[in-house]
Each structure stands twice: as structure tokens, then as C-alpha cells.
Subunit: 170 residues, 2 copies
């Protein structure tokens, strides 16, 4: 997934390593480490998906190659798992997905969140009434999970609504 993120960010503009780390961190949900980033850059370079040109000073400016662009396009369409980070990353690059496919991505995510919500509610209720008596803090964790999933679905529904009206308006 880091490879995907790097290709996506470099697609927008050439960047050097340090700048990539900042850009990725600025997305808000992944503080990637240098120990991941630099090996990933070398990996991608060896595969021919990116290439380095020396920038000013010590900087190494990387840019995507044509095979890299193609690879990015493929990864964009691969069925995503339901990891939060993966979805957010995919969303960050949803602008590169064909407009008619975007709604599907969002709706798949909604289904996954709905499932999660059911599971969270079930364990919350089960803990409340069951034979086991979890302490206050475990209960709070379960409640947090229910609430944050609900909030996430609400946020996603707004995004879906916006997507629908964008599709209708276009």
C-alpha cells in the first residue's frame, strides 16, 4: 500500500523522499517512517515504476515513469480490503478513478462499515446483558467503537450524496 501511495503522490508532481513523507503525513492518517519509505523508493525504482533525478542540494527528486502510471491505475482498481487506512488512501486518489466507478467504491465501503456496526452493537449489547461483567473501561471502548462507526457512516453518506449529485449534475 505504501507503493500505491508513493505512486499516487508522485503522479501529482515530482517529490523527494523527505517531501513524500510530509505529504503522506499531511493526508492525516499515516505517519510513515523513513525505514519504510526509503526502501520502498528503492523497490519502486528497481521495478522501473519511478526514476530519480538529482534535485537541488542533497535532494533526489523522484518522478513516475509510464509503467509506474500504469501500475498505479491497476492498483486503483484492485478490490480493497476493509482496512481503514487502505480506504482512506484509496479515497485520497479517488479523483483518478473513472467517475462512473467512484460510487461503487464508496458503497462497498458503506457495506463494510455497516457490517462493522452490527458487530460492534452486538458485542456492546452482549456485554451489557451477558453473564460476563466487563469493567467500565471495556464498556467504554465498545461504546466508542459503535459511536465512531456510526459517525463514519454518517460522514460517508454525505460523501455519497455529494457524489450522486455530482454525477447527476455532470
Amino acid at each position: 500500500m505504501l507503493d500505491f501511495a508513493i505512486l499516487g503522490l508522485l503522479r501529482e508532481q515530482p517529490r523527494h523522499g523527505y517531501e513524500l513523507k510530509r505529504a503522506l503525513g499531511d493526508l492525516g492518517f499515516w505517519q510513515v517512517s523513513f525505514g519504510s519509505l526509503y526502501p520502498a523508493l528503492r523497490r519502486l525504482e528497481k521495478q522501473g515504476f519511478i526514476e530519480a533525478a538529482k534535485g537541488e542540494g542533497r535532494r533526489k527528486a523522484y518522478r513516475v515513469t509510464e509503467p509506474g502510471r500504469i501500475r498505479f491505475g491497476e492498483m486503483l482498481l484492485e478490490s480493497g480490503d476493509d482496512s481503514d487506512r487502505d480506504f482512506q488512501l484509496r479515497l485520497a486518489f479517488l479523483g483518478y478513478v473513472a467517475p462512473q466507478s467512484r460510487l461503487g467504491v464508496l458503497e462497498d465501503r458503506r457495506t463494510a462499515l455497516q457490517d462493522r456496526l452490527h458487530g460492534a452493537r452486538r458485542s456492546f449489547r452482549g456485554a451489557r446483558s451477558g453473564a460476563r461483567n466487563p469493567d467500565r473501561y471495556r464498556m467504554a471502548l465498545m461504546e466508542r467503537r459503535v459511536r465512531s462507526t456510526e459517525a463514519d457512516i454518517a460522514w460517508l453518506d454525505e460523501l455519497i450524496a455529494g457524489e450522486r449529485s455530482a454525477a447527476a449534475g455532470a
Copy 2:
């Protein structure tokens, strides 16, 4: 942190590997893999913090040793970073923290979340009005971050209020 989680769960009752994975997953925020769990068990056993007794069938029932209990107590007090997962894990075992120290843990977390909220709001507003024009999806991600942090603080505040009244009532 996995070591901490294992010691905490084994403190409650002896469990075998598969059961530990389930119990950890049931906490709701960490689906640990066997590739992490079994090496961790061997690590802890070698350090003398846990010991295995053969349970029924193939099962290996692990239980905490006295050094393990002490180690767990130490880890409980170590200053936590601001990782979400670390906090939730700490919260799951907050019942083992001395009652007069619990409020401090929660308030430290609140400070960290408040900082995060400021950062999230700053980048949200900056992106809205700045020279850069991020696409709809990036904006949505930033808004999500703001909202979920707000919701998390609200949830935490309820927990803190409950903690205060518990302290007063006792």
C-alpha cells in the same frame, strides 16, 4: 505493545494462543496475526514472564508468572505515546491502574486529542482558503479527521466525568 496486551489478558485468566487472538480481537481495535502472536508468546516465555502448561487436546494454556505480573505493572505506568491503539490498550487495562492515577491517564489523552484537533482544523481551514485547491475527496478526509477527533474528545469527556464521580463517590 503486544507483550503488554498478552500479559494483561493472561492476568485475568490462563489462555492458549488461539484464545488470546480471539480475546484481543474482541477488544475491537486490533486484529493481531498469528505471525505476531506465537513469536510473542515464545519471547515472553523465554523471558520468564509467562509459562505454558499443556491444556486439553492440542492446547497450550499460558499463565502469567510473578515476574510477568511485575513487568505488566511497570508497563502500565510507562508514559504512553499518542498512538490510538496504545491508548485503547491502556484503557482496556485501566482497572489495574491505581484509582488516583487513572484520571491523569485520561487527561493526558485529552490533551493529545486537543492538539490533534487543532492541527486537523488548521489544515482543513488552510486547504479551504489557501492557494492550493485540493479535490473533494481530500477535503472530505480532512473533515473526517476533524469530526472524528471531536467525537473522540466528547466520548473521552464522558469517561472523564464518570471517573470524577467515581472518585468522589468512593
